[in-house]
Assembly symmetry: C2
Homo-oligomer: 201 residues x 2
């Protein structure tokens, strides 16, 4: 398509590189932006610039951070004896938004996936083993996706942690809260029957 | 929600100001961006900067432009005697993508909408009347939304153009090509019956 202005063209191309943004949406976003005041547009620019310049990763858990150590790891009120292992920063945000977890995190940066060429050495598994070895850790909780890659990663990593004697757990799998039984896929339903838990009155 | 980094926080807030982008999508876009190379991120920055600095509007039709006069108005192969009146730059892009129109445009910058406080003087109606007065125009085609505001704008503007003797038309309204009759709303269907056209064999 021919755009009336090359600035528009370039901005549309830039927005189209983002996930889930196609041509029509990109045009809509760009035309929205150019209607904003100069101040609003340069605010947007500065926000993107900060992404390039100011992003740091926590040296302990590899979470995104403003400082050398992130706000979770440096928080004295978080339980440092419990480490939740996640794939991605997004998962940290998801778990934090539940307000149900008081421990700390370890961000692997992915899962083992031979088909994508991702092996254990590409992930932050060694530094997790190191953290556990340094002592003070009671439990490692794997909160990875319930996929083959996730399971492989749990299996590999827990083998590395075996000698440390730390308690290893995974988050519960089963039907979602509020989920209607008839709409749940048969594998999840089958597994959640096998993994049934005693009901206490 | 608490973000692990203030750069992330600001970028998420910036993306959330865009239409149709909520919190979850904004987080996804930002986390995608920070995974890109520095070069890719600064490309994005420059594209936004260009929106702020390099956008010009055509002095003839008020379309977006790289120069004083846009590529449509300055194209000798476009029929300068036919002016298509649209609400918005987006509509120019939509009509251009059909490849069915060889005339030029006039971008009003909105439609008359008393409820939003937009009167005729807020739109580029006077400059359209001026263009027609300057001569050489045979037809003014209104391609505005089929809403009350669109109709009001057509009515007001065509009254201003009446004395010039220019031919005035609106784009056809009716059922969409490929549309199944049973799914079409009754008002459109009713109107398209009233506005039936002779079928030639």
């Amino acid at each position: 398509m021919d755009y009336p202005s090359s600035a528009i063209q370039k901005a549309v191309e830039a927005f189209k590189t983002l996930p889930g943004i196609g041509n029509k949406t990109a045009v809509r976003l760009v035309l929205h932006l150019i209607k904003q005041s100069e101040g609003r547009i340069s605010e947007f620019e500065r926000a993107i610039e900060a992404l390039r310049k100011d992003i740091k990763y926590c040296s302990v858990c590899h979470n995104l951070s403003d400082n050398e150590v992130c706000s979770v790891c440096s928080n004295a009120r978080r339980d440092q004896a419990r480490i939740c292992v996640v794939q991605d920063v997004r998962d940290v945000l998801a778990i934090e938004s539940t307000s149900q977890y008081t421990g700390v995190y370890h961000v692997l940066g992915g899962v083992i996936s031979p088909i994508d060429g991702i092996g254990p050495e590409d992930l932050k598994i060694a530094s997790l083993v190191e953290r556990v070895k340094n002592g003070g850790v009671e439990e490692v909780i794997f909160a990875l996706s319930a996929t083959m890659e996730g399971d492989t990663t749990i299996f590999y990593t827990s083998k590395q942690l075996k000698d440390s004697g730390v308690k290893i757990s995974t988050i519960a799998k089963g039907i979602a809260i509020g989920g209607e039984l008839e709409y749940i896929d048969e594998i999840t339903l089958g597994r959640s029957l096998l993994a049934r838990v005693p009901f206490e009155i």
